[in-house]
């Protein structure tokens, strides 16, 4: 064997369970377990970190870990069918093998949020990176203030993690869930709000004092969410987001994912809005 294990060599893992998140089937959650338990022990992930999923013969792609470290096994990845690797993943069945390496990237600064109210604003598949930190904060609810989750998607069928959105999170004490959809086809039952996430956020208008806003979703939604958060007097340090760029090695020396002198795979993907403002607008 080579002198020591190289960072770019993945570890073998098996897909234990696959659940479809959206009825259209373009988002699936994969429950994955390492083949070797000692390799799982080395894989200590914090909320917000990502892992490199390899489909052997096709390639690799960086996917955020959507399960919280407080509920360790199995690791969950919610993946939207976008490119070569993700479409091949969507054709895979339970029991097939993939490669995993990581965890990479920095994590949400959960320690700095002690005693603060948390506002999670998600759009479409953007809820996947947030879900790991939401469940983490729920499991350590005593350290944090109120948690409000504002989440929207194109249509009721496209909502991800329906089971948690409707039955699990709303019944917890100190947690509010606000859902909205862009449009509702007739014949679909939908009693909650209809409209885009940024406008819906301004309706709810959470108070900015002693609170942190965490947002993730399609770039166009993030742009307007940041504007409305500024209107509601949220400071730049109070707004946190994750950037998903093209990452090739995940360990900071393939020169692929830099915005200015920051490497998204090492200095990110979690950035505060203050950091994003300082960066050149090239993402």
């Amino acid at each position: 064997m080579c002198s020591s294990h190289n960072q770019l060599v993945p570890k073998v893992a098996t897909i234990k369970k696959i659940t479809e998140e959206t009825s259209s089937g373009d988002v699936k959650t994969f429950y994955v377990e390492f083949d070797k338990p000692e390799e799982r022990a080395e894989f200590k992930n914090m909320p917000g970190q990502c892992a490199m999923i390899s489909v052997l013969g096709v390639g690799e792609s960086m996917i955020s870990i959507t399960s919280s470290p407080t509920r360790p096994d199995p690791l969950e990845f919610s993946i939207k069918k976008m490119g070569k690797v993700t479409s091949k993943l969507h054709d895979m069945s339970v029991g097939s093998k993939i490669g995993i390496r990581g965890p990479y990237g920095n994590n949400f600064p959960v320690d700095e949020w002690r005693g603060k109210d948390l506002v999670f604003i998600g759009g479409g598949i953007g809820l996947a990176p947030l879900r790991s930190v939401i469940n983490y904060c729920i499991d350590k609810k005593e350290n944090y203030g109120s948690i409000s989750i504002i989440y929207g998607s194109r249509s009721p069928a496209d909502l991800c993690f329906k089971e948690e959105l409707f039955d699990n999170w709303p019944n917890l004490e100190g947690v509010e869930v606000h859902l909205t959809v862009d449009k509702v086809e007739e014949g679909e039952r939908w009693d909650k709000s209809v409209g885009f996430v940024p406008q819906y956020l301004e309706q709810i208008s959470p108070s900015p004092n002693n609170s942190i806003a965490i947002t993730c979703g399609p770039p166009i939604m993030i742009k307007y969410v940041l504007e409305s958060l500024e209107k509601m007097k949220f400071e730049d340090e109070q707004i946190i987001t994750t950037l998903e760029l093209k990452m090739q090695c995940g360990v900071g020396y393939c020169g692929r994912c830099n915005i200015g002198d920051k490497y998204v795979c090492i200095d990110g993907p979690v950035f505060s809005y203050k950091q994003i403002k300082e960066m050149p607008q090239e993402f």
């Binding site: 770019l8 052997l56 490119g83 895979m92 993939i98 830099n258 090239e282």
Partner: protein
């Protein structure tokens, strides 16, 4: 200091080749390249710089990361076999210094690359000082010189009929001790070494201000990038010949359900370098890519590793079909800001 006769060089290489791979400068169809050598008479000296740099020896263009067997049923992954010892002979002082920059990237970060690390540990660099730099060289602008010793294990200073041998690292001393019969101790000869060290390059000093990276910070939408990018053809020539460029792509080579994962050089000048799934490309035209190339070399690398990512070897300048010149960028930015 020792002396090595020019005639002894090929028997030194032959002796070393028993247990190490020899990469030496040879001439092949009129082109001087650093390549694996088996006939030790063929090493040559009449070149200013080899077409490829010593980066090829330690960070090759095409390298296997791992092999895998029956991809989705019961997957087995196998790392490559350990590498053999290797010696790079006939390297120029600027290329040897470039290896220190690559060391910062691949070894100093939070994660290190074990293949590169192993090759570097098992590798020795024997440098030949430059007798006559040409119009493209500007190594003196990065406080190097035609006789610099940074990054090399042994430096040979050529004189009429022998090389003055200067050991720089432990590896170098050990190599000379093992082959002592080919070397002759002739005491200190600093004047030969100094004659190389304070030799000025034809292009002279481009004298880069130490705070150029600070100045470049705000220059993201400077119109100068558009002016140079208009000339650039978008080929990967400058990044592949550059000894300090380290960007790579990881790709899978499938043969049925077995195959291997390989790492190959990639260039920020190519159009699919930053292309993401869903056809989103934040650097669609040559303007962004040219800016990325020079900002990485003169700003981002300095922010991260406190050194400019250039050693003034002049390869990108000599090989660029349309004359995009990094010293031109530096002098322009220096005057304008």
């Amino acid at each position: 200091m020792n002396k090595l006769l020019r005639s002894n060089v090929s028997c030194l290489l032959k002796k070393l080749s028993e247990h190490t791979e020899i990469y030496a400068s040879t001439e092949e169809d009129g082109v001087c390249i650093l390549a694996k050598l088996d006939n030790y008479e063929e090493w040559t000296m009449n070149y200013v710089r080899t077409a490829n740099s010593v980066k090829d020896v330690f960070f090759p263009q095409n390298e296997e990361i791992m092999k895998y067997k029956d991809a989705s049923s019961d997957l087995k992954i196998e790392a490559p076999k350990p590498f053999k010892e290797r010696i790079a002979f006939g390297v120029r002082p600027c290329d040897a210094a470039a290896m220190l920059l690559l060391d910062d990237v691949f070894l100093k970060g939070e994660f290190y690359d074990s293949y590169y690390k192993e090759r570097r540990e098992k590798g020795t660099i024997i440098t030949i000082a430059c007798e006559k730099p040409d119009q493209h060289c500007f190594c003196t602008s990065f406080d190097l010189s035609p006789g610099a010793t940074e990054g090399s294990d042994i430096v040979l200073y050529p004189t009429e009929d022998f090389f003055l041998v200067v050991e720089v690292t432990e590896k170098g001393k050990k190599l000379i001790k093992d082959n002592a019969e080919l070397f002759e101790d002739i005491g200190a000869k600093p004047e030969i070494v100094d004659s190389y060290k304070n030799m000025r390059t034809v292009l002279g000093d481009v004298c880069i201000p130490n705070d150029l990276n600070e100045k470049l910070k705000g220059e993201f939408d400077n119109s100068y990038w558009k002016k140079i990018a208009r000339r650039c053809l978008g080929c990967g020539n400058c990044t592949f010949v550059c000894p300090t460029c380290h960007c790579f792509a990881v790709c899978d080579v499938a043969r049925g359900c077995d195959g291997k994962r390989a790492r190959t050089w990639d260039s920020c000048k190519f159009q699919d370098f930053f292309l993401m799934a869903g056809d989103h490309n934040p650097r669609p035209t040559q303007i962004e890519r040219t800016r990325q190339r020079f900002m990485h070399k003169l700003n981002y690398f300095k922010e991260k590793y406190d050194k400019y990512q250039c050693i003034g070897c002049g390869r990108c300048v000599e090989k660029c079909p349309v004359g995009v010149h990094i010293a031109d960028v530096i002098t322009h930015m220096k005057e304008e800001l």
